[in-house]
Amino acid sequence: MIEDSGFVEVRIGPPVDTFDGAKGEPNARRFEVFGYAFIARKP
């Protein structure tokens, strides 16, 4: 979607276990939800 929106050089960082130990952890585990850093450039 980011590339489709006209950005280039899209990169994604490693997953972060954002919800570990939080109330939302069960849902996060169920759907394999992690936090990520993204970067892209407008040409």
Binding site: V16, F31, Y36, A37, R41, K42
Partner: protein
């Protein structure tokens, strides 16, 4: 991150406001996500920079990763933070861009705007301002920003294509979008996607 949803965008916006109003007023409450200094440490933010910030600047932080981890900001950069909340990432960015740079936080929740503006004044920051607005219609001129950041907010918008179109509009050519957000490895059932309550629970 799905680009189109069957959720009611207005109802979703109101539910998000309600949730983050709580986070502004009761930062030490129990939420489905972590908040504050412990979260900043978990996500790998520079502990010295965070340690020097007052509690008001950090306690309502509810990000999901570090948007500065793949690329740092430069002195003099103009930065926009989408969904700036209590202002944590803006204050972090303000230190990096220095007095010749500028940071604009955009948020739609009145209580978060009051908190971030008050904290900026208390910190004596003259290179940060907070504007009321939504990500689908940013209150920023075309080609203004060197960098757009965001942390855990784009996933809460129903029309992500419009959000990315707005980001492209406000960025200068050659500018960077560097944001943090959640993504799921397993598909979420359509019935759950259409349920507004589950977006913020």
């Amino acid at each position: 991150m799905s680009d189109t949803t069957s959720v009611d965008p207005v109802a979703l916006r109101e539910e998000v406001k309600k949730k983050y109003r709580e986070v502004a007023i009761k930062p030490n409450g129990t939420y489905h996500f972590h908040t504050g200094r412990a979260l900043a440490a978990r996500l790998g933010y520079d502990s010295k920079v965070v340690g020097d910030m007052p509690d008001d600047a950090v306690e309502s932080f509810a990000g999901v990763a570090d948007p500065f981890s793949l690329r740092d900001l430069n002195v003099g950069d103009r930065v926009i933070d989408l969904g700036s909340g209590g202002g944590f990432d803006c204050f972090f960015a303000a230190g990096k861009v220095g007095s010749t740079g500028r940071v604009v936080g955009v948020d739609m929740t009145e209580e978060m705007l009051e908190k971030s503006r008050s904290t900026a004044r208390a910190m004596g920051l003259s290179n940060v301002e907070f504007r009321e607005g939504i990500l689908e219609k940013l209150p920023v001129d075309d080609n203004w920003a060197d960098v757009v950041i965001s942390n855990g907010v784009i996933n809460l918008c129903a029309d992500k294509r419009q959000v990315f179109a707005e980001i492209r509009r406000v960025l200068k050519p050659g500018g960077y979008l560097q944001f943090a957000d959640i993504a799921n490895g397993k598909p979420v059932p359509p019935s759950a996607v259409a349920n507004v309550d589950l977006w913020t629970a």
